[in-house]
């Protein structure tokens, strides 16, 4: 029997193939074109790839579930929805990245060296961030679509490796940025190891790496339950690390703070969608039968994550760190959707991910605008009195904060409401009460920021709010309108999600 080439379903894989293909073209562009024309070309082909891929996702939306690439990838409703969400968030991330002055001219140059200064002066700015982002997007799209543990791991690495690099690309405060990148990389490597370890044990348990195989082994196979538990726990550690759940969250604030803000926005919004997507698939599809083994632990982790995120956020003095802890708290809320393990939970999670992602991109886009002569200003004490100078920026930023806090008429409220409803329906009332109480704690620090912006007088060393570029402006306004629209008229979007929200088992 000779070698048989695997059949590839190009149609079903098109969204991912486009992104990966253009990423490779981006590398070639980076290598062969002159520095002057690189940036616009990179931006154009990246945006083009995302839009094209999005159109392919849209084309696939009604089609029946298919598996592709010899059963290693599954394309079903939730996957398409998450791919679409990731692509839309990436579109905005690219618009933010296009304000290229956030990035180091040459990532390889030693911080503070002459080489770096020369590169900046001569305008020889490298734009490798575009292909890197595309690779990360490709990995993120593959992550929730993976149908076996091997593909899952490959996707995890494809999405993570570019992110480690991108975190270190900041033009200003490069040492902090590089420290963040290294930290992210080391801890990420550990978590990958845990993930692999878990995958190996699950293979040992089920004798199969495919999610369907594990599912049938869980629901009454001859497997060894100890292997199952060890496998589940280790695999979960890897996934919980990626979503930034406590107690695996400690990288989040450092990386969010150190990374260039457009990358932070991209990471906070899109990575969360991908990681929760994969988590939802694994737990809904494969490990649902073992729910009584993992539910208590996951409930504890969800509650811990909410509380840790909300409480520690209060003590933060840096806007990006505060948003990082807020994202940890949101990871806790999202975990309640995983634990709910019902159709409502899936729908609510999809809505929550989309609405949280868009508000996060918007909020970080605004963070890029508040600057002084040395770059962005993260220190909250210097955000004081922002409303006096730029009322529009202050209002929109408050809108995003109110959405994070879950105040009615914003998307965040509908997300919180639906996800807690799902949790309550699954009988997990403890997590609802904990969620509501930590929302109250979280409200405190969101409101404190609003108070600082609106009700305090500007300090002496005032920061300036730069006039946003067209790209950033577009991002901010679309995010703001989406946050309001999803809060006031969520019905069409909820109905859309309902058509997507069934995992194929």
């Amino acid at each position: 029997m000779g070698f048989q080439s695997p059949a590839l379903e190009y149609g079903a894989l098109a969204p991912m193939l486009i992104i990966f293909g253009v990423a490779i073209i981006g590398v070639i562009v980076e290598a062969f074109l002159s520095a002057k024309v690189r940036a616009p070309i990179q931006l154009a082909i990246s945006l083009g790839a995302v839009v094209l891929s999005l159109s392919q996702v849209w084309r696939l939306r009604g089609s029946a579930t298919t598996t592709a690439a010899v059963n290693s990838v599954v394309i079903d409703g939730p996957v398409l929805f998450m791919q679409g969400t990731i692509l839309i968030l990436s579109l905005f991330a690219f618009l933010l990245i296009a304000d290229i002055d956030a990035f180091a001219a040459q990532a390889s140059a030693v911080p503070g060296s002459n080489e770096e200064a020369r590169a900046l002066e001569s305008g020889k700015i490298q734009t490798e961030v575009y292909p890197l982002t595309l690779f990360a997007i490709g990995g993120m799209m593959l992550f929730p679509a993976a149908n076996d543990l091997i593909t899952l791991f490959v996707a995890l690495e494809v999405l993570s490796l570019p992110l480690y690099l991108m975190a270190g690309l900041s033009r200003r405060r490069r040492l902090l940025s590089q420290e963040a990148a290294l930290k992210y990389f080391l801890l990420g490597a550990y978590s990958s190891a845990f993930f692999l370890f878990g995958a190996a044990f699950l293979y040992g348990f089920a004798g199969d790496v495919s999610l369907a195989g594990i599912r049938s082994a869980v629901s009454g196979g001859p497997g060894n339950d100890v292997f199952l538990i060890i496998g589940m726990v280790s695999l979960s550690v890897g996934l919980l690390f990626k979503v930034g759940a406590a107690p695996f969250h400690s990288w989040t604030p450092d990386v969010y703070q150190g990374a260039p803000t457009p990358i932070t926005a991209f990471m906070a919004a899109a990575t969360k969608v991908a990681a929760f997507g994969a988590m939802l698939r694994i737990f809904y599809v494969s490990l649902g039968g073992a729910v009584y083994s993992w539910k208590p632990i996951f409930t504890a982790i969800a509650i811990l994550t909410m509380v840790v995120g909300s409480v520690i956020a209060i003590a933060q003095r840096d806007i990006k760190r505060m948003l990082a802890y807020s994202s940890i708290a949101h990871a806790g809320f999202l975990l309640t959707g995983v634990i709910a393990l019902n159709q409502e939970g899936l729908k609510a999670s999809l809505f929550y991910l989309a609405s949280y992602g868009i508000a996060t991109i918007g909020a970080f886009a605004l963070v890029t605008l508040v600057r002084d002569s040395s770059g962005e200003v993260g220190d909250l004490n210097r955000w004081v009195g922002l409303a006096k100078r730029s009322p529009a920026i202050a209002l929109i930023f408050s809108l995003f904060l109110l959405s994070f806090a879950g105040i009615p008429l914003t998307a965040g409220f509908i997300g919180k409401f639906t996800i807690f409803t799902a949790a309550y329906e699954s009988g997990n009332i403890a997590v609802v009460v904990a969620g509501v109480l930590s929302s109250a704690i979280a409200a405190f620090f969101y409101i404190r920021v609003i108070v600082m912006i609106f009700f305090s007088d500007p300090a002496e060393d005032t920061v300036t709010v730069t006039i946003p570029s067209l790209y950033t402006n577009l991002t901010i306004w679309i995010a703001a309108i989406a946050t309001l629209a999803l809060g006031i008229f969520p019905a069409p979007f909820l109905d859309l999600i309902a058509t997507f929200a069934t995992f194929t088992r």
Partner: protein, 503 residues
């Protein structure tokens, strides 16, 4: 278009209009805001006249699907209780705008913003009372915090930011607890009758006792913070003291009524069994509020804090009336909400004028105002007498109904609460004596009396106080059927008077 939606929409149209006006022309902004609010008040009066008094259940009903997949609809309607509170809201807004003509100046934000906030708040106030969909109610309940927060923090005096934040955090905390309960009842409705937030449908649910108790507590704590009831009241004196007089009127007069309104509409009607379970506890709390609020009011040196504490005492009476569960006490409680609204409005507005004239809010700084500013002094005196429930003035009727209604079921509570009336005489008459009578304090000789605008603002309030004191029938006719329905829903019938003393 339906009347309720028009009433809610009109202030928002006014907001759009004001936003287009030039910011420099403060007078035009004020006039437009006043005009809009007067129009809304007329709509409110039209609605009251058109309200069919003999009928129970909701009137002016309208319903549009909003988020069908979650069973949420935009659903409005009024019964006697909500009608009277909407009427109170729409009457107070123009009075507040007229009375506090200059309050909007010197704030942190522009004059325009002040009136935009006030009008947005008016829409929210109408919505929160008119909503017959629990989700819609919650949306208004939470969203109305935002304009109030900016009104206190942006235009108040003293430690206004701290007060605004305290107000917001207390309210949000309560609101989130309520959210958990709302989710609970929503899930139960999904299991029993299909997902809905319609409160009439929700009140037919069969909920087991334990769950009912927890859900009830979520609602009750939120409303007890709002109302506010001892020991959850500590935000109120700060907020009332820091806010502008006009904001305080809306805060104490209307917003806090959302709490007592919610106790009737949501706590009692959705969870009748749990209401009965918790009644002894709540009655105790209410009696403590009455006495505690009154004692602290007596001790206050600041006139705004004094009015705030008297309100805590009055909210105790209202809560007592609600949970005594007789139709008399319940009607009395609802009428009390209205009367407390107007007499507190009068007190706060006049206190505001006194403070702006004298530049101080300490009671001791006034003295002998009767001689210098007779109209101001008389108005304050009448408002004060109404607040202490003097027969012939409006509050007397409601307080009497509450006490009589309570006595038939909880005689001990009623007897203790009656001491509240005696204390009320102290906390009103002592400041009246200090501020209005006696020799004129140095520095006060040349204070101007009320001008025409101020008289125009206060006259209708005083007229209402006197009119409802002598002839409360129209108001009671509106309230009584609704109160009767509430009592029936809880499964109580009024005790016979003859066995009233028999506990």
């Amino acid at each position: 278009m339906n009347l309720l939606t028009s009433m809610g929409l009109l202030p928002l149209i006014g907001v759009g209009l004001i936003a287009l006006l030039p910011a420099t022309n403060a007078k035009l902004v004020k006039q437009s805001a006043l005009l809009v609010s007067v129009l809304v008040a007329f709509l409110g009066i039209t609605m009251t006249i058109g309200f069919d008094r003999g009928v129970t259940g909701f009137q002016y009903v309208e319903r549009y699907s909003w988020i069908p997949s979650l069973g949420i609809s935009y659903q409005l309607g009024v019964d006697g209780i909500s009608l009277i509170l909407i009427l109170l809201s729409v009457l107070l807004v123009p009075i507040v705008i007229l009375a506090g003509w200059n309050e909007s100046e010197g704030g942190r934000f522009s004059v325009k913003t002040f009136y935009i906030l006030i009008l947005v708040l008016e829409t929210m106030m109408i919505g929160v009372f008119a909503a017959t969909d629990l989700f819609l109610f919650y949306v208004f309940f939470e969203a109305m915090l935002v304009p109030v927060y900016f009104l206190i923090g942006g235009y108040g005096s003293g430690a206004r930011q701290a007060a605004a934040v305290k107000f917001l955090l207390y309210s949000l905390f309560g609101g989130l607890l309520m959210l958990a309960s709302i989710i609970g009842i929503f899930v139960i409705s999904g299991n029993q009758i299909g997902r809905t937030f319609d409160i009439t449908a929700l009140s037919t649910l069969e909920i087991d006792a334990t769950t009912q108790n927890f859900l009830f507590l979520g609602f009750f704590i939120a409303f007890a913070i709002k109302a506010p009831l001892w020991p959850l009241h500590t935000w109120l004196p700060d907020a009332a003291k820091s806010a502008t007089p006009g904001t305080s009127v809306l805060l104490l007069g209307v917003l806090d009524k959302v709490g007592t309104f919610g106790m009737i509409r949501y706590c009692v009607e959705l969870f009748p069994e749990a209401s009965r379970t918790f009644t002894p506890l709540i009655i105790t709390q209410a009696v403590i509020s009455i006495i505690y609020g009154a004692f602290l009011a007596i001790g206050q040196k600041d006139i705004k804090s004094l009015i705030a504490f008297t309100s805590i005492s009055h909210f105790g009476f209202i809560t007592l009336g609600i949970f005594a569960m007789t139709s008399q006490s319940n009607s009395g409680a609802t009428l009390y909400m209205f009367n407390h609204g107007i007499s507190t409005a009068a007190l706060f507005l006049i206190a505001g004028w006194m403070i702006s004239r004298r530049g101080s809010s300490t009671i001791a700084d006034f003295g002998g105002l009767q001689r210098v500013t007779p109209i101001l002094a008389w108005s304050f005196f009448i408002a004060g007498l109404s607040s202490l429930a003097l027969p012939g003035l409006s509050s007397f009727v409601s307080e009497f109904l509450v006490l009589v209604g309570t006595y038939t079921r909880y005689p001990l509570a009623a007897v203790i609460a009656t001491f509240g009336i005696i204390l009320a005489a102290l906390y009103i008459l002592i400041p009246v004596q200090k501020a209005l009578h006696g020799p004129t304090t140095a520095g006060n000789e040349n204070l101007p009396d009320l001008n025409r605008r101020e008289i125009a603002a206060i006259a209708p309030v005083i007229a209402l106080i006197v009119a409802l004191g002598f002839y409360p029938k129209p108001a009671l006719e509106i309230i009584n059927p609704a109160a009767q329905v509430t009592i029936t829903k809880v499964g109580y019938s009024d005790p016979q008077p003859l066995v009233g003393g028999d506990k």
